[in-house]
Point group: C2
Chain length 456, copies 2
């Protein structure tokens, strides 16, 4: 596609100077995301205001040209790849923290604020915003909201849907609107806020968010438990989640992932059949009993070693190793297939056993780790060549079928984007998908916002 001259003229008016880029170098830079898929946009704009974003969508709507919102492209599903061309709207320059309001436990931010920058800014006030993807130093709040990106702390503190009060946005019509509240509670009409969260830029472009903050607990303890095999570890997860003390992180790492992690984290990462990293937070005087309760649940058949990290360095080494797992796998397989299936936590033992069986059946290397407290596993298929890639794709279909049979769903936090949309009919009824299509049309009648994503 080449953009019509009239559209380019309009864009130049609203995006003067380097706020509009049409050169090949910039177009290439915004062609891909962490899914490693790519497709060339026709132009890239860098909005810095809500009004500019309205003007952008209005202009593109008039010419039926796609608009693809983009945070920092750290998503793994191709959600920001401009598969139908059009204009990428990169919000990286719209990155002001507009207001931190500790008295009301909220912050108002522009979409381009980085997750890590927000957390830093909140620290002196004693608050944090719970969503914490592995990419938090580099991913934007706008992207977190668009993809409902979560992270380890979700098990206790919820995802962006539970931690956002209101939004300002621009619908596919080019009309700006506000939804939600500046209060911690509201029942004034339909919940458009949660509808936009996780909609992957297909309904509206988010230009401002009012985020709910949580007081930061003063104390934290990390427990490392190793197990004979993945089944034993998964059974421990189910036991931990069936008792009342909810850990603020409950991460599962399988044997293959542990070997990878050891390459990055060194000897502090143990070799075992599987490991759990468990974090418990609270106030200093209450923490020991919470740690006891969680440790009791973590013990059981197949436990090899359980220890509470003694130093901050030890904890840091564990997390560094855990956070390095996603990129580390690229060294084995540049074409890794990265899923983030989720099952009810009591079915986690069946899931990990089933995945081991499928790896053998299809002769594919699979590395599993992730947010076990939510039953949310990152299942990574690592094909090393073309023939393995074919086997991996056959295996993937079996993985999804297993997940659905265990009352689970396709994605816990990565979303659907490009790479999982063909599997949506496995998880959702035709009538549900049809309603989603109607909702899409209600916000974006011409279908110009991020076409080709989320819905099959």
């Amino acid at each position: 596609m080449t953009l019509p001259d009239a559209l380019l003229d309009t864009l130049r008016t609203h995006f003067p100077g380097d706020a509009l880029a049409t050169g090949m170098a910039e177009r290439l830079a915004y062609a891909y995301d962490n899914s490693r898929r790519n497709a060339l946009p026709d132009a890239v704009v860098f909005p810095t205001s809500h009004e500019q974003t309205e003007a952008l969508v209005k202009a593109c709507r008039a010419h039926r040209v796609p608009v693809i919102g983009r945070g920092r492209g750290t998503n793994t599903t191709g959600a920001t790849v401009p598969v139908a061309g059009g204009v990428v709207a990169s919000f990286e320059r719209m990155n002001r923290i507009l207001r931190i309001d500790p008295d009301n436990r909220l912050a108002v931010v522009e979409p381009g604020v980085l997750n890590g920058d927000l957390q830093q800014a909140l620290k002196p006030h004693g608050f944090f915003w719970p969503p914490d993807p592995s990419s938090s130093p580099w991913c934007s709040i706008g992207g977190n909201l668009a993809c409902n990106s979560a992270g380890p702390r979700t098990v206790k503190y919820g995802s962006p849907r539970e931690n956002t009060l209101g939004l300002r946005a621009v619908a596919g019509t080019g009309e700006g609107f506000r939804c939600g509240t500046y209060t911690s509670k509201g029942a004034t009409g339909y919940d458009l806020t949660r509808l936009l969260i996780g909609s992957e830029g297909t309904l509206a472009l988010i230009t401002e968010a009012t985020l709910k903050l949580t007081p930061k607990p003063s104390a934290l303890r990390t427990i490392r438990a190793t197990y004979r095999d993945v089944s034993a570890a998964a059974r421990a997860v189910a036991r931990i989640m069936a008792q009342p003390v909810t850990p603020c992180a409950l991460e599962f790492i399988d044997d293959v992932a542990l070997k990878l992690a050891r390459d990055y984290g060194g000897d502090s990462v143990p070799l075992a059949g599987a490991m759990l990293m468990i974090e418990v937070d609270g106030e200093a005087e209450t923490l020991p009993s919470a740690v006891d309760a969680v440790s009791r649940a973590a013990r059981g058949d197949g436990l090899e070693d359980l220890r509470v990290a003694e130093t901050a360095e030890e904890t840091q080494a564990l997390w560094s190793a855990r956070k390095a797992l996603s990129p580390a796998q690229r060294t084995i397989s540049p074409n890794k297939i990265n899923e983030d299936v989720v099952v009810p936590v009591s079915h986690l033992p069946e899931l990990v056993d089933g995945i081991k069986q499928l790896a053998r059946k299809h002769d594919v290397l699979i590395v599993s780790f992730g947010h076990a407290g939510n039953g949310n596993l990152h299942v990574n298929l690592l094909p090393r060549d073309e023939s393995e890639r074919e086997r991996a794709h056959a295996c993937l279909a079996d993985v999804f079928a297993l997940v659905i049979s265990l009352e689970g769903t396709l994605s816990g936090e990565h979303g659907i984007g490009l790479v999982k949309k063909e599997f949506m009919p496995l998880a959702l009824q035709p009538s549900t998908l049809q309603l989603m299509r109607h909702v899409k049309a209600a916000f974006d009648p011409e279908g110009i916002l991020n076409p080709g994503k989320l819905l099959p």
Copy 2:
């Protein structure tokens, strides 16, 4: 309206025997709700299955006849009054708890299950479902979901939107669908679950809900603090919410409400300028420090007395008095205007001062109490005769204007229904309302579900 014979025949097929009622006695019984508004339905049906509900909506759609979903009619906004006639679908007989799954911290229920019955059933498992309206012994989960009904515990545990994982429902097209997940986390498509919650039966009829459960803390302490005047109490609320320990209830009761409460609760209810009822929950060993932190914040200018309830009876008396406040006001004014405005908690002092001024200006008796920790006040205007009623209506407009000027919104938990829809343009932009209308059309193209509600 008289229902077409063909429709009545179809309804008789799907709702045999006393599952369909067309007699005047039954129609009158389902004509009103706790708003005291009323309008006669043409028939009442009592679905007991999802399939029956689909058949109902399909049949009514074919004849363009309204369908009004109803739980137990405890809502205060007229949300279940059949203003355009049609068929009331009362879910009172569809009241089975289908599954309690403590390992996955969830329960699956039909819509007619009473909130209080669910809480009782969960008790032996050590869990509760956080939403707890004052009417919990008599209100249904379906109604709680339709209205996003909350209650005192919302300040710590959230509303139905934060405590529901998935739904089964029937859209205005008559098509059944499932949305959400059976897992504690999900990013598979648009969040239709939250969209339905709080939509007051205008988008779909809920036939099944998967609810997220919370472990019940083992210990609870109730603090009673009295203040010189409402301003001092409101400032204490803001201080309590600005520190990290979140109480599980933080209720405000003004001087007029206290006098009323004393009639019900006896001498255990103090006379004062205002009172806060504060509850803190947790584990036994951690509670004292939490109570200390909250008490410290509650102290300050204008505090008259602060005491921790020593006995369960004392606590019970306080809550009984608090819960009796809504019905008690009927004795003063059968035509009370019951609002539940919400402002950011730091603006609560300005709200309570402003309301006292408006009461004087319009010479209307106003009783204020409610969920102060969320900035959510039940503002009750109590006109005793026709001339006072007119003044009360003028005052109400001023109350809403005040709330909006303080960055608040019309409703924290009661919803909009019939009685507040004319005020929606005060709280929402035209573009937001327009999107809500489009969403309505996406689910209910003929507009047969609960017509005349929520949207102006």
